[in-house]
């Protein structure tokens, strides 16, 4: 979207590594917003030939009223979720961040490279995932946790909505995901902005 074409929806960018669940997260975010009553939502996974561990991107667009007709990649997101703080070492990732950024990171991470963004929130999603046994093949799966943190930061959907969708989507593992997401919701904290 461009500066002189009117924008009337929320744009969210996901930065993650293949296998962390960022692409599923962009889809789940749309499902939460849709369940919450948003009229139109769109998730755009930047997929092609991904590899586990490689940097990946996904996008979500959420509109309360108007139809989303714009399918291009997001250049200037309102919110960005960074699933792995080591991605900030990639200059093109760090410099592309704008708006509010939610990062999966421990407290001590160096954030000077993204001092230009509007606000920064941190959540230690990796540890929450490990403690809640949200693991696949030894990898912590972070999607629902990051979206729990996002719910707190934006207030766009409630924990109840998350619970409902997670139970529909993941059956018996829905509750486990929900408990971890709630923990992320409660522990995410603003560190700048």
């Amino acid at each position: 979207m461009t500066a002189n074409l009117e924008k009337d929806f929320t744009e969210v960018t996901f930065h993650g590594r293949g296998g962390q669940g960022a692409i599923t997260a962009s889809n789940l975010l749309c499902a939460f917003a849709f369940e919450e009553g948003y009229n139109d939502v769109l998730d755009i996974p930047k997929i092609g030939a991904e590899r586990r561990g490689a940097p990946i991107q996904a996008f979500s667009k959420l509109s309360k009223e108007k139809e989303i007709k714009d399918f291009c990649a997001i250049k200037s997101a309102d919110y960005t979720l960074v699933f792995d703080f080591t991605l900030l070492d990639i200059p093109s990732v760090a410099t592309s961040l704008k708006g509010t950024v939610i990062i999966n990171a421990p407290d001590f991470v160096d954030l000077d490279c993204i001092a230009h963004v509007k606000a920064i929130w941190l959540v230690d999603a990796t540890n929450i995932a490990i403690n809640n046994n949200l693991m696949i093949s030894g990898y912590p799966i972070l999607n629902t946790l990051m979206l729990g943190a996002y719910a707190k930061v934006t207030g766009q959907y409630t924990l109840e909505t998350m619970k409902k969708v997670l139970n529909q989507r993941f059956g018996s593992r829905g509750e486990q995901n929900y408990i971890a997401a709630k923990e992320a919701f409660e522990s995410v904290k603003k560190v700048r902005g």
């Binding site: 074409l5 849709f34 939502v41 769109l42 998730d43 997929i47 399918f71």
Partner: protein, 415 residues
């Protein structure tokens, strides 16, 4: 309410699968290929869990997929499959056979670029290779439209005056793998909308000892009626399909409330437009925003979405653009060696030339989004600006995207 009714968030590919289910298809043959694979995977899952009642056959190649559908359709079954890019190329021989033998097969295509180099993203060049096979073809521009078009396709294809197979193409990844809410109607409404499948099979091919007929024989060139007449009949059926497509789109709107223009083309603010861009697929949908924006600046612009590609909507285009000062045509496909390099722009020029109302109308060709390259609204705005500049100057505006007489939006020049 069942999981197949009401407003749901679905991927474009799943919209195709759910629509095939809603259309009560009886035979699906399948072979995986990115970005289509999810279509047949979902159908496999639905059949396995007892939620869809059809024969699902895993094949060893795309060639066999189409051969299998031809066999099933000969026997009178309603058939469905999906493919993409190289898969469609491999399938090419029986694709032509399906049209030649006049079977109402419906196939969705998650379109992707043709290799080499390998490409799996949105590009209609794959179906352009089958353009003249005799299949009906539509270029779709949304998740809901994928679902709705499968339903409409069976109604059009199975019409005794048409009896041609239908290809429904949508951009790989940009529609196949993104999710949007779609509305799935009540099954009873769909059942009422769709034609009944004839008990004995399709009129022209069903097998019955009391009605001996021959299938797929060699016919000598001078046998009459023979090969030439059969070919003429395919073209005649394509022409007869035009009013039927318009009629079905109208009936669809009346039944389900969703508007796809007249089925052939869909106008967006064309009525009083001086500058009209012809576009297709998701980029046409995105261009609606640009038309709104340009209008807010006082420019009288409009966009005509080419929805049906075969039969080519000659009359519909002429009717929609005849009052324009100049028009642009945007292709998301290549037709190498053609007058413009773009299939739709070349064909639009030919179509306009023979009508006294439009024979002097200047057509500016654009090609963009090749192999899934991003096209942002700012670039689409620039396409309109180039169109207006070309009109003002009376000649093509030189820039780095212009190669010969075509603007390759978003491309670096090549030497």
């Amino acid at each position: 309410m069942s999981e197949f009714e009401g407003k749901r968030l679905v991927k474009g590919n799943f919209a195709a699968s759910y629509a095939a289910r809603a259309a009560n298809v009886q035979v699906v043959t399948a072979f995986p290929i990115t970005p289509q694979t999810l279509v047949v995977e979902k159908i496999s899952e639905l059949v396995d869990s007892g939620k869809m009642n059809c024969e699902f056959v895993r094949m060893e190649s795309e060639h066999s997929v189409m051969a299998g559908l031809i066999g099933a359709s000969y026997a009178g079954a309603r058939t469905f499959s999906a493919t993409s890019g190289q898969g469609l190329l491999y399938m090419a021989e029986p694709v032509h056979w399906a049209a030649g033998t006049r079977l109402p097969i419906v196939m969705t295509i998650a379109s992707r670029g043709i290799a080499p180099p390998w490409n799996i993203w949105a590009d209609f060049s794959d179906i352009v290779t089958q353009r003249d096979s005799g299949w009906l073809m539509a270029l779709l521009s949304g998740h809901q439209e994928i679902y709705d078009s499968v339903l409409m396709a069976y109604k059009i294809s199975e019409n005794p005056d048409v009896m041609l197979p239908y290809m429904l193409a949508y951009g790989g990844f940009i529609l196949s793998h993104t999710s949007k809410p779609i509305h799935m109607p009540k099954q009873s409404l769909i059942d009422e909308f769709l034609p009944k499948i004839p008990k004995l099979g399709w009129d022209h091919v069903f097998l019955d000892p009391d009605r001996p007929i021959m299938h797929g024989n060699l016919i000598m060139p001078n046998t009459t009626p023979g090969y030439q007449e059969f070919r003429m009949k395919i073209q005649l059926a394509q022409l007869k399909a035009k009013p039927i497509i318009r009629e079905v789109a109208k009936e669809f709107k009346e039944t389900f409330g969703r508007d796809y223009g007249n089925g052939m083309v869909q106008e967006y603010k064309c009525k009083d437009a001086e500058f009209i861009m012809i576009n297709c697929g998701i980029l046409a949908k995105q261009m609606e925003n640009v038309v709104d924006f340009m209008r807010s600046l006082g420019h009288k612009v409009g966009m005509l979405r080419l929805r049906t590609y075969r039969p080519f909507p000659t009359e519909d285009i002429i009717d929609a653009v005849k009052h324009a000062k100049i028009i642009g045509v945007v292709d998301r496909a290549t037709a190498f060696g053609s007058p413009t390099g773009g299939p739709i722009s070349s064909e639009t020029m030919a179509a306009l030339h023979n009508d006294p109302q439009t024979k002097d109308l200047r057509v500016i060709p654009f090609i963009n989004g090749i192999g899934g390259r991003d096209v942002v609204t700012q670039q689409q705005k620039r396409q309109f600006e180039i169109l207006m500049e070309c009109y003002d100057k009376g000649e093509l505006v030189k820039n780095e995207e212009l190669m010969s007489t075509t603007y390759w939006t978003g491309a670096m020049g090549v030497k």
